[in-house]
């Protein structure tokens, strides 16, 4: 395919993906706004007011970046895993597989759907958060870079999950048993400084630690880990996820017999 034809194929996939989640906005966009409002109200407002400061800022300010990032992670992941598995389930993925669309365009198309949903939800949740706390962004460049990299990373993870999933139950296992625990243990609600040394060290293996802390640095200017190192880790995870997803598409794993 010529670069122009690839561009059309990519636009087609992006349009399709964005229309899919905006058509069912009450299932894809609204729940995050409601859930995060409750988090802000309960953890930030009710409980947070009794906790006091954490990491040098009010508890409410401390949890906001983590909660926004949690929404981005779950939405970018959920979008791609549901869309790709749905296409596998009703065999419409064959429309793409029989076409000359290159694998990197298929990947970019699905990932762009996840990234756009992640970013849209980030905007919605940030607007909701601004009702509870005054947000003064420390570094817009860091915020945008972390949001973009994170949504790409978890969109890719969603696609990998969808490739291996055989049933709709399989696309819920990873978010429920892996993603949610890692998010909660990734320092959304607490500073790693509160952990005993052993558990603080174990937490370094959790990719969500880097995502949450890099974003918190972008918003508040505070972080439990070095921001440069955090970017390096997120970037490394993204490269590995991209390589593996591309490998799965190239070999046709679980897509071609």
């Amino acid at each position: 395919m010529s670069p122009y034809e690839q561009y059309i194929a990519l636009l087609t996939l992006m349009r399709k993906e964005i229309r899919r989640y905006t058509r069912i906005w009450s299932q894809t966009l609204l729940p995050s706004a409601i859930t995060m409002s409750l988090y802000f109200l309960i953890f930030g407002g009710l409980i947070g007011s009794r906790i006091g400061e954490m990491g040098g800022v009010s508890y409410m300010e401390f949890v906001v970046p983590g909660l926004i990032m949690m929404a981005i992670v779950t939405n970018s992941y959920a979008n791609v895993v549901a869309s790709f598995f749905g296409a596998k389930f009703n065999n419409s993925i064959e429309e793409l597989l029989v076409s000359p669309t290159p694998n990197h365009i298929i990947l970019l198309g699905f990932v762009s759907g996840g990234v756009s949903r992640g970013m849209l939800v980030a905007v919605i949740v940030t607007l909701v958060a601004s009702l509870f706390v005054d947000l003064n962004i420390h570094s817009y460049a860091v915020v945008v870079a972390v949001v973009a990299l994170t949504s790409v990373l978890f969109s890719l993870c969603g696609l990998i999950n969808a490739v291996f999933a055989n049933t709709f139950d399989d696309i819920n296992i990873v978010p429920t048993f892996v993603l949610t625990p890692l998010t909660y243990l990734g320092g959304v609600f607490y500073s790693l400084e509160l952990l005993p040394e052993f558990w603080a060290t174990v937490s370094q293996a959790n990719p969500l630690v880097y995502v949450v802390n890099a974003f918190r640095f972008g918003v508040l200017g505070v972080s439990d880990v070095s921001v440069g190192f955090a970017f390096g880790m997120i970037g490394a995870f993204t490269v590995v996820a991209y390589w593996y997803a591309a490998h799965l598409l190239r070999t046709g794993t679980r897509l071609r017999t």
Partner: protein, 305 residues
């Protein structure tokens, strides 16, 4: 001029060890209307799956209009349009969206795609369903939608896997007309079907596949020429006698107004009519008892096994 499709030594062994294709060779000329016949599980859909990249082959080569799928799969895919046996579109999308997306995957700009959608939906009688979600379509409409989708990038080779399964007779006939029309316009058509009369009336050449091997590959005319014996049902104007003797022909009484005659290769049907007339039996209608191709098909499969 390269063949529309050229397959050499194609083998497929599934993960469970089942050998679906045992080294088949097949050539389909450009512009041909070609039938690939075989019983269930013979390897037809596996062959099509390999050609259109939904199944990974174990060995062999496949060329579409001279383009080797191992060397330039995207290039080969451009020439191919595929209508699979099972519905494989998102039923929650509209007819128009399904076609726009498929055109996009081939790099076709939206403006061109919309023009082609107009053309194919009109030709296939789906214009009024343009904005309808696919799940609301009847089975026949869904099948026509898949044909429109396969043609949206105007391929030179169209492969149809059981395209008329579950389609009523009237719809089937209009589909035949449409397929003849695009074949006459230059599109090579490769068809798998269970309706053998469909292959006989539409196709010029045929390959019969069984247990993953090509049993025969010839023209339909040649194949039918090999048929040595045919059975005809004859309807008489008057009640027939209890016993019927026609010298030189094997004739038997079926009921009061109906008889059955076996015609060997080389025998003259006019002579049979003439002798029946001489015996006072007037024939008002006649039909072939079995589909001729079906007889040949069964006989070839029996020989192969």
């Amino acid at each position: 001029m390269p063949h529309a499709l050229e397959i050499r030594g194609l083998q497929k062994v599934y993960a469970n060890g089942f050998q679906a294709l045992k080294g088949i060779d097949l050539e389909v000329a450009q512009g041909d209307f070609f039938a690939l016949l075989g019983p269930n599980g013979a390897g037809k859909s596996t062959t099509i799956g390999v050609i259109c990249s939904l199944i990974n082959k174990t060995a062999g080569t496949v060329r579409v209009k001279g383009v080797d799928i191992d060397e330039d799969f995207p290039g080969a895919k451009r020439h191919l349009g595929v209508v699979p046996q099972e519905f494989n579109f998102n039923v929650f999308e509209t007819v128009e969206d399904i076609l726009i997306h498929q055109a996009g995957y081939y790099g076709i700009p939206l403006k061109t795609a919309l023009e082609r959608i107009d053309t194919y939906l009109t030709k296939l009688g789906l214009s009024e369903k343009r904005k309808t979600r696919a799940r609301m379509l009847s089975g026949g409409m869904k099948r026509r939608l898949m044909i429109a989708r396969a043609l949206i990038h105007e391929p030179s080779v169209l492969i149809l896997d059981e395209p008329t399964a579950g389609v009523d007779i009237e719809m089937r006939r209009s589909m035949y007309e449409f397929l003849r029309e695009i074949n006459e316009a230059g599109t090579t058509i490769i068809l798998t079907t269970h309706y053998l009369e469909e292959a006989e009336s539409l196709c010029r050449n045929i390959a019969i596949i069984n247990h993953g091997e090509i049993v025969t590959n010839t023209s339909i005319k040649n194949l039918l020429r090999e048929l040595h014996r045919e059975t005809f049902i004859l309807d008489a104007r008057e009640p027939l006698p209890e016993t019927i003797q026609v010298p030189g022909f094997e004739v038997s009484r079926v009921d009061e107004f109906c008889l059955e005659a076996q015609i060997e290769q080389g025998q003259d049907l006019a002579e049979l009519m003439s002798r029946l007339h001489e015996s006072g039996i007037s024939i008002i209608s006649m039909r072939n008892r079995e589909n001729r191709l079906e007889q040949m098909f069964v006989s070839l499969l029996e020989q192969a096994s």
